[in-house]
Symmetry: D2
Subunit: 432 residues, 4 copies
Amino acid sequence: MLIERYSLSPIKDIWTLDAQYKRWLEVEIAVIEAFEELNLAPKGTSQNIRQKAKLDVQKILDTEKIVDHDVIAFIKVVTEDMGDEARYFHKGLTSSDVVDTALSLAIKRAEEIILDELTQYIANLKKLAVDHKYTIIVGRTHGVHAEPTSFGLKILGFVAEEERNKERLEKAIDNISQGKLSGAVGNYANIEPKVEEIALKKLNLRPCKVSTQVLPRDLHAEFFSVLAMIGSSIERLAIEIRHLQKTEVLEVEEPFKKEQRGSSAMPHKKNPILCERLTGMSRMLRSYLSSAYENISLWHERDISHSSVERVFIPDATMLTYYMLNKANYLVENLVVHKDRMKENIEKSYNLIYSQRVLLKLVELGVSREEAYKIVQENAMKAWNERRDFKAILLEDNRVKAKLSDKEAFEDIFSPDYYLKNINEIYERFEL
Amino acid sequence: MLIERYSLSPIKDIWTLDAQYKRWLEVEIAVIEAFEELNLAPKGTSQNIRQKAKLDVQKILDTEKIVDHDVIAFIKVVTEDMGDEARYFHKGLTSSDVVDTALSLAIKRAEEIILDELTQYIANLKKLAVDHKYTIIVGRTHGVHAEPTSFGLKILGFVAEEERNKERLEKAIDNISQGKLSGAVGNYANIEPKVEEIALKKLNLRPCKVSTQVLPRDLHAEFFSVLAMIGSSIERLAIEIRHLQKTEVLEVEEPFKKEQRGSSAMPHKKNPILCERLTGMSRMLRSYLSSAYENISLWHERDISHSSVERVFIPDATMLTYYMLNKANYLVENLVVHKDRMKENIEKSYNLIYSQRVLLKLVELGVSREEAYKIVQENAMKAWNERRDFKAILLEDNRVKAKLSDKEAFEDIFSPDYYLKNINEIYERFEL
Amino acid sequence: MLIERYSLSPIKDIWTLDAQYKRWLEVEIAVIEAFEELNLAPKGTSQNIRQKAKLDVQKILDTEKIVDHDVIAFIKVVTEDMGDEARYFHKGLTSSDVVDTALSLAIKRAEEIILDELTQYIANLKKLAVDHKYTIIVGRTHGVHAEPTSFGLKILGFVAEEERNKERLEKAIDNISQGKLSGAVGNYANIEPKVEEIALKKLNLRPCKVSTQVLPRDLHAEFFSVLAMIGSSIERLAIEIRHLQKTEVLEVEEPFKKEQRGSSAMPHKKNPILCERLTGMSRMLRSYLSSAYENISLWHERDISHSSVERVFIPDATMLTYYMLNKANYLVENLVVHKDRMKENIEKSYNLIYSQRVLLKLVELGVSREEAYKIVQENAMKAWNERRDFKAILLEDNRVKAKLSDKEAFEDIFSPDYYLKNINEIYERFEL
Amino acid sequence: MLIERYSLSPIKDIWTLDAQYKRWLEVEIAVIEAFEELNLAPKGTSQNIRQKAKLDVQKILDTEKIVDHDVIAFIKVVTEDMGDEARYFHKGLTSSDVVDTALSLAIKRAEEIILDELTQYIANLKKLAVDHKYTIIVGRTHGVHAEPTSFGLKILGFVAEEERNKERLEKAIDNISQGKLSGAVGNYANIEPKVEEIALKKLNLRPCKVSTQVLPRDLHAEFFSVLAMIGSSIERLAIEIRHLQKTEVLEVEEPFKKEQRGSSAMPHKKNPILCERLTGMSRMLRSYLSSAYENISLWHERDISHSSVERVFIPDATMLTYYMLNKANYLVENLVVHKDRMKENIEKSYNLIYSQRVLLKLVELGVSREEAYKIVQENAMKAWNERRDFKAILLEDNRVKAKLSDKEAFEDIFSPDYYLKNINEIYERFEL
């Protein structure tokens, strides 16, 4: 189990031993209900079994130490006081019928919780995107000022990305909604496909088309790959904010609580520690991928090498993803946005961000693209080196002055608003 | 580019520099066609440009060495003899509009080729599954004999897995069918969304809902994760065959060509080298995942750190996947299946594979599950240790004899055919 | 914290919150002791502080919830009743001076425990190698019978591998034996290098030559890479045993306890579940690598993205490695070796394993290598196909008969003992 | 082979097919020389063979297509015109004796080239560190201004890191300086250990203590892990520079060539594309790790699954590492350092970077640490919020004024030089 620090309810409650045994029992009883429906067990058996089943976690653990097999230990303890009806319990099943079907239930439940949080995250991002639809910020490529854009549009990119992730997650939920009650090697030797069909339906699962002793592990690898994708998208936001919170930039800040302290040595510090934490967690979600994919190639009708990996990584991955989404929600809801600093910073690059417009204007006025590029680049480099206004420098260049003699048209080039003219059209692609 | 040894046509032809520049030109011209449609350029411009465009690979490379920018080098060379119409070339675009849109075209094409090969692979697997629907083989779990099953069913599991992969690949193709002509920071500052819409349609792509300077990299990560999934599924088959070809098992063999030699030292060797090679290649496809996912978190409106990774790993990954599928097809089409050995091997475990049936029969006859398990396990261990027939040993046990006195019913337990009774029902889940 | 199931003492005790705070206190006090030695604090200060320091885990956690900073919470609680001497506590330090130095202490301790278990593992492997120095087993390459060899030699290969790992681990221990008390950005602004030197010496650490706010993370990545290496070596043994325990081979078995049960459905099963578990765990150790290496590139004088990764993965990795070594020791000490089956299996390939000797003999007798290879391969394939004795088939070939007419010399070729003639020389390379 | 773009001499010359076959021949001939020394072949045999050996790359490739085995194809072609002496060629060897020993030669050579470039890199870093020993720059933690430090010290941290990497690489070179001529399963069945000893000595290698058919793959995994480490360290520098080149910071710039162009759209752009490229390449080197470690667990005396991985990843990894070091050298030698901007930026945080010194001074003057922290933090937050000078704000606080009444002492706190007082002592830990 993930360390307490990062384990939040409700997702952590899925992964207690108690919850696990309850799911196992749920599966076993669903099978007996199917038996009843098919007249393979007397009416009432399942109800009696449900009443007499003894779920004593500690005793199961103690028994496992003797028999070295967790499901057998579970059956032993659960059926202890069951009397004759115990004969229907686990009948025709192999351990993995129970374990793997129950694991699907758990993963599905975890994914649904994650889906809810992701849906909330998208809603929060949308709100932020709408609020800042026309908040001007400099667009940066390679870390260097490029051209003005809107802070809202930046955020809208995350909306689009998370909507794709949502679709991926929904597909993963659909894919994990499979169980298997097909016996020791997947051929229904001692249990009828009909039993599987009925029992799984009760559990809101469907039968896997072909299973071995276990469900095929590509389903689980897919689940991990979607979580890593969600993690990476949150990391992208976290890194964006970390950049924007750098002292020289300071356009946004993650929330800093009233009593919070940033450093034991330096009382002035307000650090984006939450974003940094999310960055690290995304690494962890990525880390799980190699194991998840290696788990696919099990030997023959199964080997159990996937089990230790899944015992640790499945709960941890779901809890980390949930934690990340939960904190990302807090972050987006409480993000401090400094519009004034965005405006100030845009002026830090000597109006160079308008270089493309000057280039295009010159081309429009008949200068060849090659020549225009050369003129603009030369003047731009001068502005960088001398740290002077690009506009002023341009006007000192006769090649420019000759072409851009219309004062108003020239001034018009250097306006950030120009860059927002198509923003609305992008926004209209979304339900906001 | 992947080493020659593993690079097959047609997929390798996608990744030549020549093909890349052609795609770039295709994108640039699509934009000019859109200009024409929208009366932003005179009719005939695109046709003239197409005729005058000069695609001189070596000259582009030489120019790149000077300007240190591949797209600018490309534009310089291509427009060299274009005359005045060059002003429409690359107008309002940023390099990544061209590069990234063209990359989508390339990946899509590669994925389509892979899809075809995958479809063929599924067809081959289906044929093998049908041919061996009732070929009895021992099911193995943990590498140990479990219960009899059908060799065809084993293969049918791969069919199901690859059908899921096919669906994933189709989704990835759909997701990569996006381009972007949204300019330097993705806000359509110097190009209208309408131009993008028309131009991309001509390229059979659709506009990405929000792009930055580049397309969001979750699309590419998804592509890698699907290839790694396909690789892992082939690896699972390769490992299955490697196991079945072990000297003591020898139930199947990968094809061994007439002139082939297995070892420079040991002339008797027939090694499953193809399957081993596929195993290694799957590792490589998995390896790419960590980079692919790290590429998602680009800085601000883009940084170019993803580029070096993609230049190497995207071509290599597609070529490896194609190679794997191509060889997997050869393998499945030419697999040598030794039914006789399957039958022999099933007898190597002293009839212990019927232990569950004995257990269930005892329970049916009124023995408690716990007690029955104990009886069967004790006799089973005796059979293992003494290497004697489980049937004979059971008959020496009075607890068993008392219950299983009906000779015919007793004999009836030890029949492999019993295990195939539901095979047909599984097959009916597929179009075969 | 790793799930209870895989967490063993003594290594898990390192990673409790209580143990962590104790280490922090240890570091803080070492600094004060250094102050005393350098007359920067009155004699007796450290002793007083040690007595008055209050380590209340719950209270620290509660305080952390308010200040959002674990070290500040720790200092607040620990110094609460300290009175005036609290002014020396944490003086001139930054949080990471304490946290990172204490982490080195923890990792070093964990590595030492792992080293002890690894040393024991090597001893156990050596014993097994010696016991089976002359136990003949067929050597297998590509899963196919190659030539006879000794089971002990197989094991000796693991000895050599683990001795290399031991050397790597010792180097990693040496590398992690570094602390840092160099302040907020690593330039000793408010603490003298001399204080660091004295304090770290007390902790059996040495100063890192250059630190930032934290120790450089290549040290930690190295630690992870050594653990993954140890894991992979154990996995190699686990896979070897899983292969040798396959029903058709059954040359060795992992220990099966008296009350153990292999399957809930099939009472006859004895599965190598321990080896399979170790295989999965090795995947996990490999998984950690990508995060560990990503952690190296921290921003500027540090960002804290590594912290969440390390909080989870460092304890888990050490506990998993220890668990693996602990179980590997149990496995090697109790391995069931079936010499008789090894002998039987060697005969399952129709004497083909002697093909190289036939080849070399023919070459020795004047046949060209090319021709000899052809002759031997043809006859070998015949033996495979007809499943007949290679010796008999060779004698039916006139090309062979002509050359190998000496009956005794011919018979002499087919002896497994020949292959052990240089075993002793290999063993002599080791202290056994 | 890596794409041309990233493949530099001399390292790429190691990996041509021609060079590979030459190494194979070198190994084969070393064995025959050993035969001669041991009187197992007539004097002069090796010399004759060397003269008659035919290295026709294309013919070997064509032959491989028939026999499906590269070493057999090589032997066939090389010995074609060799006459009777061909009988000594490859005698008693298995293919992997040649391939793996030759691979060690290749890796060793590659590592030595990398070592030279790394040594140069360390020298360049040292020069930069010395040049800027006292260049003041603000230290940044969490991306936020922390305390002043020296730009040279920043660089010295990379020196220390790369010196550790150098040591790791030297160890890896030593570890890969092993060959194996121990035959098909590693037991010297048809070749004497003495032959191996002599032949390997001629190749400047030593015998591996225990080999199977191949060298143990932990040696190769170690090699990959060291390259990934070197890559990650360069990435750390690349990320540092990318940060320092951000428009708002602009304290350093990577070299920008005279004719270089930064963007096809925006002529003003000077982007740190080299650093970004290095960042991506580090991802690639990390990616190889999972395959490299998976390659360790080969089956029995070897399976060949590692081979496809190594054919692609070993050359690519060495070429990438070399490329990275080569470019890192260019970068460090030509780095543009803006001392003036470093000085300017330090003033951008309202003198808050001196907060720790104020805190310590208050404590020194008798304020409790808790209280002092609170006072300083309150004033610091005020400075952040009001964007006013911290000094001025402090003087408005009576609690501060009361304590810090000595004007000179107060002013003295706010001096960046204070932070460099121990720099020299750190530098003295190095040979500079």
